[in-house]
């Protein structure tokens, strides 16, 4: 009997085009939108205007050094444009203007202790652009100072080894990325929106259960030879399969369209099954608990959007305050996203993500338990 209920539900879902929009169209739209913005994360460059009043070899080398640092595309403006550029910065239309004054090259190369300078005009509100640029300039200034020191040391006639010892930094940063694959916007957003929209299936589940209850369908089915629990099981299986297809389609989209590496496919499959069990288990529980469709919508949105923010689906949870991160640990979304990141970014396998699978399975079991406990009340309200 449960198979008959599940098959009927699939026939109905195929006829409801809105379901495709909510479960596939909307998440793909979000992935495309955010993927378009962040897929080139680390490789995109910010355009910086500069005016080179010095026009010397040293000033040109300075500009090239900035570009060489990565992340910036330097665009030269004429001297006469300076007033306009500064006004544009004041109006918030441009973020930064770098001005290399006359005499820059001479000052850099002189050994008499005179100091070269560059001016950075910036929009106070464009900290995200100007801040990193100032750090790059600071780094370049240090390199110029090191060059001067080296020249002075060479003039002393001391041994090369001694000079190198003096020039060596007292602190060396040893960068050792431990992830098997690299992190990018896509590895954040594809799993993030997959996890988020799995919970949107709860809306469809609530609509069908409440609709069947209010239309008298549940009462009518009770007059047949069907065991009541077959109805619950059939509906659950129907939506479980839909959630599995939804996850597979969204991850495949990320893989084929954006080249996202999936990592251990077996581990991804285990995670997707557990996630689908969790989403539909909680859906069953909510469908049995709510009195009306509107109430169900409100709770689902709270669960889906609240969990998305706290669970780190929209941005890494490391960026959140400690208290919010702690609260996030109580959401299934956090554990699902963590497990996806573990597999896709950190190259982990099923054996490594078992705590996440366990938490998701616990949420699924809790949802099923609530649904079974409340099913009698649901039936009573349907038959009354």
């Amino acid at each position: 009997m449960w198979w008959t209920v599940a098959r009927k539900e699939w026939k109905l879902l195929i006829k409801e085009k809105g379901v495709f929009f909510w479960l596939l169209g909307l998440p793909i739209a979000f992935i495309v939108l955010f993927g378009g913005i962040f897929s080139d994360n680390g490789r995109s460059s910010v355009e910086i205007s500069y005016i080179d009043l010095d026009q010397s070899a040293a000033s040109r080398a300075f500009v090239q050094a900035i570009e060489g640092a990565g992340g910036y595309r330097m665009t030269e403006a004429a001297e006469g444009e300076m007033a306009d550029k500064i006004q544009q910065i004041r109006d918030g239309k441009e973020a930064v203007l770098l001005v290399i004054p006359r005499g820059f090259g001479q000052a850099v190369e002189s050994a008499d202790g005179s100091q070269a300078s560059v001016a950075v005009y910036r929009d106070a509100a464009a900290e995200s652009t100007a801040g990193p640029l100032l750090a790059v300039l600071e780094n370049l200034a240090n390199r110029y100072r090191d060059g001067k020191v080296k020249t002075a040391l060479e003039a002393t006639g001391l041994s090369e080894a001694w000079q190198e010892g003096v020039m060596a930094a007292p602190l060396r940063i040893d960068d050792r990325p431990e992830n098997a694959a690299s992190f990018s916007g896509i590895t954040q957003y594809v799993p993030g929106y997959t996890v988020m929209f799995v919970f949107f299936i709860i809306i469809s589940m609530i609509r069908r259960f409440i609709g069947d209850r209010d239309s008298g369908m549940v009462a009518r089915l009770r007059s047949t030879t069907m065991k009541p629990v077959s109805y619950l099981a059939g509906m659950w299986v129907a939506y479980l399969v839909v959630a599995l297809i939804q996850c597979a389609a969204l991850l495949a989209f990320g893989h084929w369209v954006y080249g996202m590496t999936l990592g251990d496919v077996g581990a991804v499959a285990a995670l997707v099954v557990t996630l689908a069990l969790c989403g539909t288990g909680l859906g069953l529980a909510l469908a049995m608990l709510v009195k009306s469709e509107n109430q169900g919508m409100a709770y689902t949105q709270l669960l889906a959007f609240g969990g998305a923010v706290l669970g780190g689906l929209w941005f890494p949870s490391d960026l959140m305050p400690a208290a919010m991160r702690t609260i996030g640990h109580f959401t299934p979304q956090f554990w699902a996203q963590k497990a996806f990141q573990d597999i896709i970014v950190r190259g982990m396998h099923t054996a490594d993500i078992w705590p996440s699978l366990l938490v998701l399975a616990a949420f699924a079991l809790a949802g099923l338990a609530v649904a079974l406990l409340r099913f009698k009340t649901f039936l009573k309200s349907a038959l009354g």
Binding site: M1, T4, K8, K11, L12, K15, E16, S215, G216, M217, A219, R220, L221, R222, S223, T224, T225, M226, L383, G384
Partner: protein
């Protein structure tokens, strides 16, 4: 004669409100039994109890010889329940809906295909089997609503107001279907607001009001016991009916007059003589059979539709 339904002293309350006080009904196998009463009288509650959908507080209920409290599953195999509301999936076709309900009743494979073909013929919608239910008229939906309860060849069909708001064509289809079921020996329990439907279909009936059975028996017996006989006279335009000594005053009805009396033979001969003496042009003069409408009025003091 075997009984299909035996109800004794049935009582049911919802949250302190009494729906059924003391219902006792016996329905013979193979008969069509009409359950008549105004809204809120307790018809649907009685039917839901018989279908095993509701628990009850007092009394005993046997369906097809089995106690509904103890043998619900066994009864459900032989029972078809047509609810008052149209409970179909409107985005699906009749074939999809019937496949779903057929399997819910345990009918599968070739047997189900055969039965779907038969019931679709019965309800006159075989040519619309693949169209979505949403495109159907109210009457067509009601016909499929009934068809869904017939797939497993039930011995008892409970129909809760199956003809509400439908067109005459659909009503005729449903009437023909019920008559065919009766011929096959299926027991039909039929609730309705419409007295003429009970008169047209049912052999037996019970009138329920405020959770009590206020009249029960064979149709003719109930009409004889509770109805008042009358004589109807229709004359040419402008002519007035002659007064009959010893009888009451006739009441205007339609184009003529109705005289209620316990002695219809004397009244009709009296009116015939008086009209002849006065050379009145008689268009119709007949003894009128008591109607359920008048029975209901006599028993409850109100008409069914007003109540």
């Amino acid at each position: 004669m075997k009984t299909a339904i035996e109800i004794h002293g049935l009582g049911k309350s919802y949250g302190g409100k009494t729906a059924l006080r003391n219902i006792s009904i016996t329905v013979r196998e193979g008969s069509c039994f009409g359950l008549l009463g105004p809204n809120g009288a307790g018809k649907s509650t009685t039917m839901k109890i018989l279908a095993g959908l509701l628990e009850f507080d007092a009394g005993t209920v046997k369906v097809l010889g089995a106690d509904v409290r103890r043998s619900g599953d066994r009864i459900r195999e032989k029972l078809g329940y047509v609810p008052q509301s149209i409970t179909l999936y409107e985005k699906l076709s009749p074939l999809d809906n019937l496949t779903f309900f057929g399997e819910m009743y345990g009918v599968r494979g070739d047997e189900l295909k055969k039965r779907m073909g038969e019931v679709l013929e019965q309800v006159g919608l075989a040519d619309r089997a693949k169209d979505p239910i949403a495109s159907f008229s109210g009457g067509m939906k009601r016909r499929i609503n009934i068809a869904a309860a017939l797939l497993h060849k039930p011995k008892l069909i409970i129909m809760d107001e199956p003809t509400v708001g439908i067109d005459p064509q659909s009503r005729n289809h449903i009437f023909e279907m019920i008559r065919a079921l009766k011929r096959e020996g299926v027991t039909v329990l039929y609730s309705t607001h419409y007295m003429e439907e009970v008169e047209a279909l049912c052999d037996h009936l019970a009138i329920i009001d405020h959770g009590n059975v206020i009249a029960e028996g064979e149709l003719n017996e109930v009409l004889d016991r509770f109805g008042t006989q009358a004589v109807y006279l229709e004359l040419a335009e402008g002519e007035q009916p002659p007064a009959l000594p010893g009888f009451g005053k006739p009441a205007a009805q339609g184009r003529g007059w109705l005289l209620e009396t316990a002695s219809p033979l004397e009244a009709i001969t009296g009116w015939a003589s008086a009209c002849k003496e006065r050379a009145l042009s008689v268009k119709r003069l007949e003894v009128v059979r008591p109607s359920l409408e008048t029975v209901f009025l006599a028993l409850t003091g109100t008409t069914l539709r007003d109540s």
